[in-house]
Symmetry: C2
């Protein structure tokens, strides 16, 4: 295979990095690079010419120094579970792997904070923290395989974000390396602090385009002692959406309010899971947690009464086995929907909570108009819906794409956003123009240049050109 001049340049840079940090950390065998060309977005792969397997901050800095010097693009990669193409090396170059940087440097139990490296798997970190009686709430569906650094880069959310907030609420400070190799600590170790601009907030959710994290300081909570899980079933999605409004208006703060529509429930049933009885038109999965079991029970009872006004059935699912099977089914939904249909385009939007019933109705209508199915699940308490456009006839590919377009139109019309938690990446870069003003896009291009004047860090992402 003949290599392009650009690839030769990348390989030259990789060799130089190898001389600085050890050649065993350089991967340049094309076969071994295949896994680093794609992520979980379903977007077409784009192969890097080399990958660097960093084991510490010095490796990261050396990679960014040499790459900047030689004009080579670098795409940082946690564990590749992102849904918007953030880890795909859109312009080739070098993929910078951080998964070997997976140590817990410190858990400070009394201060309720931890310092961790970015490559650690979220669940591994959560279990370590819980063993200390503490709690790190963000819980994207990929929690057993995603990297904490990737969560920070994407500002990951998950069901519990309704009560506990997203990753941004937990990151106090970061060790970061910039393109060119400069390194610094940004942020703080204290709960509060306003010294200088909020550089940490700019980095959280920047999708690997502004800097590469080498350590993360996160704050922790005291682990809730008790959890109650309710499953409520409804005649249709609109009734479920109305029940969400009732619940939100009550002042109760469940940890989780997940919605699943009729089609999602059917797909779960067909997959042989059967945690949900009957053939309901929609379901809500509601969890309440807290420090005192008797209060959590009383809250669950109150929530059950509220849901019961519109539900066909409300079940308490506090038995751990049942809880696990409910969550397993919920977390697998994206995969199950993909397997069940020839065509699937999925979207991650957020809308005002009060608009959920109307939005679900309009999604269903626009699907019917285009001859495809729109099926939703998601974090109803936050108005964060994972909407899936589904079809079985390959001839409907164009209609599917058009339906996705219509869907974003509905979201923007009700004052929503095109990405609730998955990020923009490559997947929604052009769509960002529909939500944000040219002035805001121009400002963000300048912001990108402030961190990365070369434009070589994860190019082709987030802000359209």
């Amino acid at each position: 295979m003949k290599r392009s001049a650009a690839d030769e340049r990348v390989l030259g840079a990789a060799a130089e990095i190898g001389r600085r940090i050890g050649s065993g950390k350089v991967i340049d065998d094309p076969d071994l690079l295949v896994p680093y060309g794609a992520d979980e977005s379903g977007l077409p792969a784009s192969l890097p010419a080399a990958a660097i397997r960093a084991v510490d901050a010095a490796d990261v800095a050396a990679t960014l120094a040499v790459a900047a010097d030689r004009g080579v693009p670098v795409t940082p990669r946690g564990r590749g579970t992102g849904k918007s193409g953030g880890a795909i090396p859109a312009r080739g170059g070098i993929v910078l792997l951080t998964e070997r940087m997976d140590r817990i440097v410190e858990i400070d139990r009394e201060e309720r904070l931890a310092i961790v490296e970015p490559g650690i798997v979220l669940q591994t970190f959560q279990e370590a923290v819980e063993a200390e009686g503490l709690f790190y709430p963000p819980d994207p569906a990929s929690l057993d395989s995603c990297a904490l650094g990737g969560n920070v880069a994407e500002n990951a959310g998950g069901p519990r974000a309704f009560k506990y907030g997203v990753t941004r609420e937990y990151v106090l400070g970061l060790d970061v390396a910039l393109m060119g190799g400069a390194t610094t600590f940004a942020g703080r170790r204290t709960r509060k602090g306003v010294a200088g601009y909020d550089v940490v907030a700019a980095l959280v959710g920047s999708e690997g385009t502004l800097g590469v994290f080498t350590r993360v300081v996160v704050r922790l909570r005291v682990r809730p002692a008790a959890t109650q899980t309710l499953l409520a079933t409804f005649g249709d999605e609109v009734a479920a959406g109305e029940a969400v409004r009732d619940l939100l208006g009550s002042g109760l703060v469940p940890s989780v309010i997940e919605i699943l529509d009729r089609h999602c429930l059917e797909v779960i049933r067909r997959a042989g899971h059967n945690p949900i009885p009957g053939e309901p038109g929609a379901a809500l999965l509601v969890e309440l947690d807290g420090r005192r079991p008797e209060r959590v029970e009383a809250d669950a009872e109150e929530a059950g009464e509220i849901l019961g006004r519109r539900a066909t059935e409300v079940l308490v699912a506090s038995e751990p086995g049942r809880r696990r099977s409910l969550w397993a089914a919920r977390r697998e939904l994206s995969t199950l929907l993909g397997k069940a249909h020839a065509g699937k385009l999925s979207d991650d939007v957020a809308v005002p909570c009060k608009s959920i019933p109307a939005v679900l109705r309009r999604f269903a209508e626009l699907g019917r108009r285009r001859g495809v199915l729109v099926s939703c699940y998601g974090h109803a308490g936050d108005g964060n819906l994972h909407a899936n456009v589904l079809w079985d006839d390959p001839g409907l590919d164009v209609a599917g794409r058009a339906a996705l377009d219509d869907l974003l139109g509905v979201v923007l019309e009700v004052g929503g956003t095109i990405s609730g938690e998955h990020g923009i990446g490559m997947a929604k870069r052009e769509a960002l123009r529909r939500e944000q003003s040219p002035e805001l896009l121009a400002l963000q291009r300048r912001l990108k240049s402030a961190f990365d004047p070369s434009g070589l860090l994860n190019p082709g992402k987030v802000i359209p050109e």
Copy 2:
């Protein structure tokens, strides 16, 4: 009085702005400009040559367009209650007044959000929101006179930040005008969202140096139905600090944990307020709130027991009159301390909570070494201490300044930050070099340029040159 060439340029710009937005909005009478030269930082005043009284976003944009065009500095001003010099026009020029932009555009009760103009007084806004059964938690001591826009610019906190977070946690979106006159909406109206970089987070706490807000979208909470207030007195500050650690370790989440040291209590007593019995060595003011009065009572009882292990006395102060007098005394403390001493330098630091007892001990020692008194009060649950260096003999001015320096050294040594909530402004600009790396400062200078390439928006603030 002969005017400088620079002042003539400012007046020319002001006249041009007047032609565009109405000359009645231009203030150029030097006598009328005096109030706009200072804020509550105690720093020396610096007079502007003109002020513009904006009534809408178009006025703000026109001011920033003309000023950029003519090379005239602009310092935005809410209600001038800041403690770090953010509103002082350090380089003269134009002060841009936003206090007339004080409308509540919308309170969306069901969605629990509000859209407001920046000039509204915080308390006015809070009362309007509470009338709808909702709650906007940030509560800086100046709440009856500060502007919400100023709170956003400074990322204001206050006692309730311990449970409810600071202003940053509430701002979802902003209409912002940039130097040069470009305007855009940044952020969102939904609870969640990750579309593009977090421009809102960069603007919140940017101390009027990155942009001027013309509307703010804030999220609201459901108003807690019940509050319990406890006052615990201690033999000394260290015992109070230990009690804070006990309370934090219990998993209880009070809304407020305020600490007051011996000298603060004495100053309150001498001022004729007497909400605190005896002559204790320190006190904690603890509040608990929630939706269910019986639970809040039970929590208060539990907190009382925990405090009681180290306290000389624990009083329940739920009677509204007593609660009000306690809070009035607490909020007046900064003023009372200033009146009680010839010399006062105050500082706003945050330290790890577990370090509070050691930090208080070391502050007292360093004061003794310098022959001055260090007296602290603040938001102990967040480790956010307002430390005051006090002296009565004018000959001790140099020692007082040296003590303040020592104090920051202690804070940085234990992993703290030089500003917990008051911001950097002019007051701590040079001190920022002690906390942040040259690389981080350089990055922040580039960040400033991304928003304000001219460097004319509130120059001389935040990041040292």
